[in-house]
Every structure is written in C-alpha cells, then in structure tokens.
C-alpha cells in the first residue's frame, strides 16, 4: 500500500517539489445548454465505442461495417447493371434487424452502465436539470441510429450521383429520393431508440438489457404474423401496429408511399389507416419519453 504515503506527502505543506499549490478558477463557466450538449456528444461517442476500450468498439463497428458493405454492394450492382435492388427507404427497412441489434447493444452502454456503476449521483449533482440526462442520452441514441442508417444512404446517393445517366437533372431526382428516406431513417431512429432506452434504463445489468430489448422487438413480430392472417380485413390492416418495426414501416408507407412500398409478397397493406399508424407511433414515442423522465425522477432522488 503505497498510496497513503503518497497522499500524505501530497498533503504536506508547500515545499514538496510537485506541490505547486491550488489555483482558484475564475474563467468562464458554461451553462446548462453546454453541459447537456457535452453529455450528448459524450454519449454519441460512447454509442460507437469511441473513447472506450477496443472491446466496446467491436460490435458497433461490426454493424457499421455491414451496413456500409451492403450500401457499397448496392452501389456496385447499380453501377454495373443499372438495376436498383433497394431504394434508399427500403434499405433502411432491410437493415431493421441490424438496427435492433445496434440498439440492443448501444442503449445499455449508454444508460445501464451508469446505473450499475452508481455514477448517476455525480451527474445529478451537476449544473443541469433532471430531465437533461435522459433527454441527452435519448438524443444521442437517436442520432447514432440515424447515422447508422443515413450514412450508408448517403454513400448510395454519392455512388448513384456518379453513375446515373441523365446529368444534373437525374442527380436532382436522386436527391429528392434521398431526402425523404433520410427522414424515414429518422423515424426508425426515434422509435427504436425510445423503446430501447426505456428498457435499458430499467436495469443496471447490461446482459438483461441486451436481452430485454431484443426480446421486445422480436417477440412482437409473431403477433403481427398472427393478426395479419386473421379473416378480417380491418384486423389485417391494423396488424402491423403490434410490432415497432412494422409500425414504422406502416407510417413510412403512408408518408412516403412510393418510396417504401415494395411490390408483391413482402409489402404491408395498411389500407386507409395511415393516420392511425402515425398517431400510434407518436403515442409510443411520447409514452417512452414520459417513462424515461419518470424513471430518472425516481433515480435522481434515491
């Protein structure tokens, strides 16, 4: 045990060579916005394992690698054959499994870790308001998922812009396809991040949080399967409300119809219930945010 002596020597009055005395700080102190912003940036980096150990980087970057690779392959196919296997929006949808896994790993990394190490009292005793912590974490996770989907979409756009025939006009059309798709990716990000973060905030055990998130997203899918084969058209058209991923697809096919809807088998039919899907998605996100705030009101006081 050398540290008590090290401490003792540090605590001795001036004259020790490394002791240059304490300096008061009278420089700028930033306000609540800066503090919440710093937490947001820190959390966004954490979601991708930046500033963390190599082990924490493996999974997020594996998923980033896969999505990037898929986008690159799509670009190559289009450049070589002129076919468009997946539109930008369909790409976001095709990646939904990866998004689920990404959220299942990133959300516990953002909140369960802090719960487990008991670090929260240190955050809540700092100059920010109580809702700032969960909201900064949520914003960071939404941004991370959006970057995960939007980055490859941008890659596909750049690839298309260089290979498409028809000059600037075609590039412009391409951009008009991209922008709503980025919005669609944002919709995925908001819904998945909100649900995932609420689940992760309930436990300090990362493994439970990982499993819980995957379970909630995957267990709801069979429900959709069952409902969509029931002999009632209305039930069929409302069936996709039951799972977060089909819910998002439903909202997407209502908002950006021709971009999202695929022909044939895999397509989902929601009839005239588009506004219902949007309302349910909105209510789901709002509920998740309220749950998060309530959860951290309790945590801050304990």
């Amino acid at each position: 045990m050398s540290e008590p002596t090290a401490l003792a020597s540090a605590a001795e009055p001036a004259g020790v060579i490394h002791d240059i005395g304490y300096h008061r700080y009278d420089g700028p102190r930033r306000g609540r916005g800066y503090v919440a912003g710093s937490l947001y940036v820190h959390s966004l980096r954490t979601a991708f394992g930046l500033g963390r150990s190599a082990k924490a980087k493996i999974f997020p970057w594996l998923i980033v690698g896969i999505t990037g690779l898929v986008a690159a392959v799509l670009v190559a196919i289009r450049a070589q054959t002129g076919l468009v296997p997946l539109t930008y929006a369909q790409f976001a949808e095709a990646m939904s499994w990866l998004v689920i896994f990404f959220v299942a790993v990133a959300a516990p990394e953002l909140v369960s870790r802090d719960l487990r190490s008991g670090v929260l009292p240190l955050y809540f005793s700092r100059p920010m308001s109580r809702p700032d912590y969960p909201l900064a974490k949520l914003a960071a996770l939404i941004t991370a998922v959006w970057l995960l989907l939007g980055g490859p979409q941008l890659l596909m756009f750049i690839g298309a812009a260089f290979t498409v025939n028809g000059g600037l006009r075609a590039v412009w059309d391409e951009l008009l396809d991209l922008l709503p798709s980025l919005l669609y990716a944002g919709l995925w990000a908001v819904v998945f991040a909100s649900v995932g973060l609420v689940i992760a905030s309930l436990t300090g055990k990362r493994a439970f949080a990982n499993g819980g998130i995957v379970a909630v997203f995957l267990m709801t899918t069979p429900v959709v399967g069952v409902l969509s084969v029931l002999p009632s058209r209305t039930v069929n058209e409302l069936a996709y409300l039951a799972a977060p991923s089909t819910l998002v697809t439903g909202v997407g096919s209502w908002l950006f119809h021709d971009l999202v809807a695929t022909e044939g088998e895999g397509s989902i039919r929601i009839g005239d219930f588009g506004p219902v899907y949007a309302a349910v998605a909105g209510a789901l996100v709002a509920t998740c945010v309220l749950l998060l705030l309530a959860r951290y009101r309790k945590v801050a006081q304990s």
Binding site: M1, A10, H23, P28, S38, G118, L122
Partner: protein
C-alpha cells in the same frame, strides 16, 4: 453571509418517515462537520442542499442561493462526493474527471487541465491514466474527491469521505480535507457518523439525531470551555480525589480515571497541582492527558444552540 442557512427545514417521506424535523441552523464558511448516527438525516440534508430533494416544509439557502428554486445555480458552485461507489470501472481517472469537469460547465481544455490538477492535489499522479477498476479503495476515494473538486467549487459536500479506509488512509483523507478547507479556501461540509474523526479538522460542528438538531457550535468555543485532564493512577484513586478536592479541583470519577475540568484563570496550574498531589501521595501515575472527547460529551445532552 451564512454559508448554509436553514429555517425549520423538514422532510418526510410519504408523509410517514421523518428524515428531517424543524431543522434550523446557520453556519459560516469554513470546515463544518455534520455528525449523526446512520439514518440521522445527513444524506437527506445533503440532497436538499443540492436541490435533488424538495423539503416538505421550511426554507434553505446555500451560498445565498435557494436550491429549491434555483438548483442549477447551486450545483454549479458546489462539489459533491457521495458516500457509495460511484465510479465507472472501465474509464481512467483522468478521462472520467475531465468528463465530469465539462459536466460542471468547464470548457474542454480547461476541464482537462483542471482534472489533472485536481487529481494531483488528491495525490494521484501517473496512476490517473489507468482504469479505475484496478484502483484500491483509497485511490477510489481520492478520485471521488477529485471529481468534486475539479470545477473549483465554493462549497464541498463530502458524505462519509473516510468510508472503507484503513486508519492511515483515514488520517490522510482528513488531512487532505483540512488542507482543502484552509489552504485552498474552499468551504467543506463533512458528514460523518464518527464525531472523534471530524472534530479535529472542523471549525464548526453540527450534530443531528433522528432529523433534529442536537447542537451547532464553533469548535473553539466548545473545547476551550470544557477541556478536561484525565488522571489515571493504578491505586489510591479515592485518596487522590480527596486531595484534589482539598486543593479546589472538582475531580469526577470515571472508572479508574479522574477527570479534572480545566477551567479558571490559569488552566496550566492544574497540571502542577495534580502532579504535586500524586507525588505527595506517592501514587503510581499511569497517565495524565488532556482529553478532547469533551465535544462528544457536549453533544450527549440535547441542548440546542446556534452559532
């Protein structure tokens, strides 16, 4: 300006459990010891000061700010060291304290500079680049202190800072706290359930029990009035007591010891009188020492006073 002032501060949980009851206290800047048994309401008091809990009734001011209406402003000027483990094992102390410096509103580069400075002041040098998970309890306590210090607060709230430390570590921690209070010019509120531990570094002591104020006073006023000499002789305690009574010293029997209050115009004279008496009676003197446990005895009676 009072550092901390409360007026009939009360906190009940769920309307049934009383954590603080009608606590009225005002303390001046300096090192303040907040003592009380576990569950006396110390942690509740700290959380109210930080604006994390709202009092059920009463008013509170910290650094002349109201933590109920303006908690963010209070927290910007206060550093808090919690009692329990609160460090992530997989970050280095340097990274962690830097991050929390920014969380206190320090610009990025300033946060990094002040983090290494704070860690140096608590005695962590090259170790600060290692992951906290590998630290000893003593080192972890010092990281906790450094994160409370990183933004140069005007008031430090330390909840049981010596928790889990060995005697040498306790002494070092208390010396460090004392140095922060005197040399650094930062007021410190130290919570402890061990009065003997904090009384030696504090200017002011506030004792609470079951959420009620027992006593709050400057240490100097308490000890000067009440220091006692403990005389321990292996035999002839009665004879010595009688002799001292004749000399005008009101000795009190406490087991095998005699406690002689050090009062009067010339306290030092008591030493000479006692030594002379012991020599006259030819008693085997075992110990003669000035006791500072007097403060503890003061807190035993439930007298309420204000600084």
């Amino acid at each position: 300006m009072a550092l901390i002032a409360t007026q009939s501060l009360s906190k009940t949980y769920g309307g049934r459990v009383t954590a603080l009851a009608e606590l009225t206290v005002a303390v001046e800047p300096g090192i303040i010891g907040l003592v009380g048994a576990n569950g006396a309401g110390k942690s509740t008091f700290i959380k109210i000061l930080l604006g994390l809990l709202e009092p059920t009734a009463g008013a509170v001011r910290v650094l002349d700010l109201d933590p109920v209406t303006d908690p963010v402003a209070v927290r910007a000027r206060v550093g808090y060291m919690p009692e329990h483990d609160c460090l992530p094992p997989d970050l280095s102390a340097a990274e962690f304290v830097t991050h929390l410096g920014r969380m206190s509103g320090l610009p990025r580069t300033v946060a990094r500079e002040r983090a290494s400075e704070a860690l140096r002041h608590v005695g962590l040098y090259e170790e600060r680049y290692r992951q906290i998970g590998g630290y000893s309890t003593g080192m972890k306590q010092r990281v906790k202190l450094a994160q409370a210090l990183v933004h140069d607060p005007d008031l430090l709230l330390l909840d049981e800072p010596t928790n889990g430390l060995d005697p040498a570590g306790r002494d070092a921690m208390l010396t460090l706290v004392q140095r922060i209070g005197t040399e650094f010019g930062i007021s410190v509120l130290v919570c402890s359930h061990l009065l003997g531990e904090v009384e030696r570094i504090c200017d002011t002591l506030v004792a609470i029990d079951a959420g009620r104020l027992l006593r709050s006073a400057r240490v100097a006023t308490m000890t000067s009035a009440t220091d006692v000499l403990a005389v321990e002789v292996t035999e002839g305690v009665e004879a010595l007591a009688a002799r001292l009574a004749n000399l005008g010293l009101q000795a009190r029997r406490d087991g095998r010891q005699l406690l002689v209050p050090l009062s009067g115009p010339d306290p030092d004279a008591a030493y000479d009188l006692i030594l002379a008496a012991v020599a006259d009676l030819d008693l085997p003197l075992h110990r003669l020492e000035q006791r500072r446990h007097a403060v503890a005895e003061l807190f035993a009676d439930r007298e309420v006073a204000h600084v």
